[in-house]
Amino acid sequence: MFLHQIDLTTALRPYLLPGEALIFVQDGVGLYEGKYKIPQYQNGHAYLTSHRVCYVDNEDPRQNAVGVDLKDVEKTEFYAGFLKSSGKVTLTPAANKRGSMQPRGQSPQIATGAGRRESSSHSVAPSPAPRTSATWVCVICTFSNLIPQGFDPASANSRTYLPPCESCGIKPELIHVVKAAIQAYRQSAASSDQSNDVQSPSSNTKKQTTKIICPRCTFANHLSMRQCEICDTSLATAPDPRLDLTRHEIRAASPGPALVNLSLNDESIKCIKLSFRVGGEKVFFERINTAMQQRKWLLHGAPPIPQPNEQSANGDNSSASDQKVRKLVGIAGLELREQTQRKNNELIIGNAFEDLEALITSAKDIIALAESFSSTAKADGSVSAEADSLVSQSVSQSLGLITTKDMLGSDSLYISELSRNLAEFLTDDTKGVLKKEGGIISLVDLWSVFNQARNGVELVSPVDFEHAARMWEQLKLPVRLRRFKSGLLVVQGSDRTDEKTIASIMSWLKDLHEFPPEEPVPWDWRTYGRGVTVQETAVRFGWSMGVTTEELEMAEEKGVLCRDQGLDGIRFWENFITEDPPQV
């Protein structure tokens, strides 16, 4: 299984394994298996991590997310791209992974439009039949007529029936039609041979989402048109965009041949190509080679790097002290153990900060140490323990998935990745950032928490942060940015709508009809319940005061609540002004 399905996080990014680190992200990537395009894997993000290469589709990320383990990759090749063909990186699986495969070089699997079917293990869809779009131009009226179905220039002779021109009714000359047919075949064959041609199909698919471009006159027809409104050309060859909804229906929309379906278990995958349609292939190639050299996946589960003190212990008297440790019991033993522990820590810290390289390699140890320190500090009863733990927790957890500017090709990609990063940060249950704040947090607070969690490394500027937050909706992530009337920006889970907020406030207010107020009140509390202050509401729902005010005013704006300005401040009531109270 060279290519396999991968798990995604809430923000639709690959779920990283322990010890795995994100190296590079690039959008606008398509996948090829050998020469063939893999349908539905033609527009997505490529994630390069220290362990894997992952592809996550833009359209249907949950369904179409695949990864290749770098340990299965034998070699990588680079193709710089030429004219309309984009740059590509080829990943060839290691030999043992394709044992059942036919030897390479034997019968190259090419499928052209002429209908030459390969007897290969995968079924190959022919590129669109050329004759449907092939035309001959009438010499009398210059109308482009379709070449009749089943017309074969090789066998055509003077007795072959030729329909007259659709416009003027004059019969064409045989040689004229044959010429046109041959030319059309030649063009289609050329384009399908050049399977690297990816620019046109990708742009094609984009257009098709809204209009069908007529292949002959380029008029943009409405989706439901079967024939071009201008020139009557059949539009059947263009895949009906509505069929995109039904994922099983696959049509080849490009001149390049495409696989009919992709079986992940297919052992015979020859190689996987990533086509970089918006660039980034060079950096990707460099980084993947570095990652392959580093072989970080070997580290996971491997015994820890031998400690320097152990090495030094081999020779001199410290080995004697080691033995003593085992013998000694009681307070002296504990003290000794403490001492060696301290010495060990000293060594780790000392080594780690010698240079940057060392720091990077021993990052894990340092974090573990920092965590143990912070937990000791907590045990000592130091203040703001919660904040500390949040910071240290998130350091260790988010270290793997941090998005930094140098990982990404472009600024816009940085924003979108940051946006996903943020969404992950927010929805991470172990951190529970949103939950702690009652499901709603102001953007400024989030910015500060997020930057704290990054621990002073690669801090995010407020501008980038806001841009990233604004992208959530576009990326269909499970959090949303909301602007209150006053302009306050807050972050919420996207499932938390105004209606839900109102419903929870209302159910609370309804409860107040049931329970008598603490002090006797002059009004009929069974009918009207009781007004609530902003403060009460904030405590009740765990929101901040600012957020609570905004939520209550939102509900007031919707006419669900009304206000009562008393001497002791504003209280919010169920709106019994517009609606009459229920009869008790």
């Binding site: 002059p522 009004w523 009929d524 006419g559 009304c562 001497l567 209280r571 019994f576 002004i577 109270p581």
Partner: protein
């Protein structure tokens, strides 16, 4: 100000036998706060309008003095310790005087923009046209067509003691009679202080 005695209002005639029965929403605290939501505010105005009309009808109030009314039970709920502020009360009355409010009020001597607090307002729990109909009905019912009555007789006379228009403001009466005059159902004659009216 909240501690001000609620009963100082001179508007409640002692003659009223039964005290006015306030509607339920009168004891809803937010009712006394101007609502920022426009929809809610419109409903609030509507309810205030109904309350003011009912209150005035019950107490036979034809002209409401804004500043005095503020301390009357109408605008001041002593039990709740809530009152409608001068501005809010003026807004309610303005709304009543407007087209959407059904022209149920009219400022005496201007639009009430003079914020002296001394403004008075006619509260039309019956509009002059409606009063005209009532008068006409009464004249019809008592067979006094063609007879001449003084205005004083109409509002203060013993014959009208049981009628709604008994004790009516003289100016309002004239307004209502003018409506009848226009319709050709009555004629007013006489001097300033001894006006008479003849119904046809």
């Amino acid at each position: 100000m909240a501690q001000a005695a609620p009963q100082t209002g001179a508007l409640e005639p002692p003659s009223t036998a039964t005290p006015f029965q306030f509607p339920g929403y009168y004891s809803f605290p937010p009712f006394f706060t101007a609502q920022p939501n426009l929809v809610t505010r419109a409903a609030q105005h509507q309810k205030w309008s109904l309350l003011i009309q009912a209150y005035c009808r019950h107490n036979r109030i034809f002209v409401l003095s804004l500043i005095d009314a503020l301390n009357s039970p109408l605008f001041h709920n002593a039990a709740l310790n809530r009152r409608l502020s001068l501005n809010d009360a003026r807004e309610v009355l303005n709304w009543m005087a407007s087209e959407p409010g059904g022209n149920r009020a009219e400022w005496i001597g201007g639009t009430g923009k003079a914020k002296t607090g001394a403004e008075k307002v006619w509260v039309y729990w019956r509009r002059p046209e409606e009063w005209a109909s009532v008068l006409e009905g009464w004249v019809d019912g008592t067979g006094q067509k063609g007879s001449v009555l003084t205005l004083w007789e109409l509002v203060e006379g013993e014959a009208t003691a049981s009628q709604e228009f008994h004790g009516m403001d003289m100016d309002l009466l004239q307004k209502s009679l003018q409506v009848l005059v226009k319709r050709g159902k009555a004629q007013i004659f006489g001097q300033e202080d001894s006006l008479g009216v003849k119904f046809f």
